[in-house]
């Protein structure tokens, strides 16, 4: 009886060690569904007229938000009469390349650009935060993304961001909603084929904040995630939720080395 127990315990140890060894998780964790030369941004999958609308800078409706963001960048507010440009000048603290590294970890919390703008406003400029998904905040964030246009995406998933990366990857492969759909089923496996009359893209976020034609305004990534969840008849989370930030981190890492295209024109 005792020897049986010892054998069972030993077998249990052996099997559990195999299952929870660090190498196997690490090997699968950083596996990318697309090699670097297979990465295609959403522009490749849209029709010719939409692509023309996006490429011509004057004809792009998203540039209206960028111009407004440029003006907002210089407006001085608050007791100390600070504006964004008091600190972020061309050669000191320049914001070139900043948008390509978000979502990032600040003070042990993962945040994206919109939340970082609010943080700067509250802590450094000492003024009121913008409401999430308001016109002013979207204008500023699309201006900041426009400054880094053409810079390859470069999010960091090591160190403190690792646990958010794992959570984001879980969410990507998790089936949700009444339709029981996971993101990878369409965007990893059958990208390029048609779903009714729309061509499925690879699902990258290098073009966000993007002008979406269905809402006729610039939208952030989280609002687009909410729409995806609604379409699968799942309950959407609120804008600025931590899980959406983690998912955005994973999707941004998945599309690392794609050039930033904001503001893009999408359906």
């Amino acid at each position: 009886m005792l020897i049986n127990r010892i054998i069972c315990f030993a077998l249990f140890l052996i099997f559990s060690m195999n299952v929870s060894s660090e190498d196997t998780i690490d090997k699968n964790l950083y596996e990318k569904p697309y090699a670097s030369n297979e990465l295609k941004s959403g522009q490749y999958f849209s029709r010719k007229e939409t692509r023309n609308m996006e490429i011509e800078e004057f004809e792009n409706p998203g540039m209206i938000w960028v111009e407004r963001g440029k003006e907002l960048f210089d407006i001085e507010e608050g007791k100390n009469s600070n504006s964004c440009s008091s600190c972020h000048k061309q050669d000191v603290n320049s914001l070139l390349g900043a948008a390509a590294t978000y979502p990032k970890v600040h003070n042990n919390k993962l945040i994206n650009i919109e939340q970082k703008i609010n943080m700067c406003r509250k802590n450094y400029m000492k003024v009121e935060e913008y409401k999430l998904e308001s016109v002013n905040l979207l204008s500023l964030s699309s201006y900041i993304a426009y400054i880094s246009k053409g810079v390859p995406m470069n999010v960091n998933v090591e160190g403190k961001a690792k646990k958010y990366f794992i959570k984001g990857k879980e969410m990507f492969y998790q089936r949700v909603g009444q339709m029981n759909l996971a993101c990878n089923q369409c965007h990893d496996e059958i990208a390029g084929s048609y779903l009714r009359a729309e061509r499925i893209s690879q699902g990258h976020v290098n073009g966000f904040p993007a002008y979406l034609m269905r809402w006729e305004s610039v939208a952030s990534v989280h609002r687009r995630f909410q729409f995806c969840n609604n379409q699968a008849r799942a309950k959407p989370l609120e804008i600025g939720h931590d899980d959406y930030n983690a998912l955005q981190l994973y999707i941004a890492w998945r599309g690392n080395s794609l050039l930033l295209e904001s503001p893009s024109v999408r359906r």
Binding site: S46, K48, L195, R196, A197, M213, R214, Q231, R267
Partner: protein, 174 residues
């Protein structure tokens, strides 16, 4: 005066007022079935799931009223529209009128209509000889797959018309 001789009893007054309200409400509900009532005045109940239905007869009537029985030249105006529109909210189209823009040979009005929209008229363009070319790009809204009609009325009285079919589709999960 005693109450018996006065015909204005409470019963009479109440009947009169309720009859008045009945008459007023029936007049209002009958209004949307009147023949010839324009689209924009149709009565809509507050919480009704309502859509203005496009009327193909109305669109054809508008086209007939613009042309007014004149002879239609086929090669006068060219319309460039996508085959399949990515989204019905923004369909980029462009037209060009084939004329010299001098003397009497320029278009006074160009109409753009979409047949299956609830309000078929989209835009009207007025040109002058200083315009150089009658060549315009614009972005329109389309409710469903339908024809786009461009009608050009020239200063000398001739009319040109062209049509192009655009598919507006529904996509992905919705």
């Amino acid at each position: 005066m005693s109450l018996k001789n006065n015909f204005l009893t409470r019963r009479v007054v109440f009947n009169f007022i309720s009859g008045f309200f009945c008459a007023v409400s029936s007049k209002v509900t009958l209004a949307d079935q009147q023949v010839g009532a324009p689209f924009r005045d149709r009565f809509q109940t507050y919480r009704q799931t309502f859509r203005i239905e496009p009327d193909p007869e109305e669109a054809k009537r508008i086209v007939r009223n613009i042309i007014k029985g004149r002879e239609v030249r086929e090669d006068l105006i060219y319309l460039k529209a996508p085959d399949i529109a990515e989204n019905g909210n923004t369909v980029p189209i462009s037209f060009a009128v084939d004329c010299s823009m001098e003397g009497m040979d320029y278009p006074t009005v160009v109409h753009i209509l979409v047949l299956d929209n609830p309000f078929p008229e989209i835009a009207k363009f007025y040109f002058t000889p200083e315009s150089g070319e009658a060549n315009v790009d614009i972005r329109i809204r389309m409710r469903t797959s339908s024809d786009i009609i461009a009608i050009a009325e020239m200063q000398d009285g001739t009319v040109g018309k062209t049509m192009s079919f655009v598919d507006v589709t529904i996509g992905a999960c919705s």
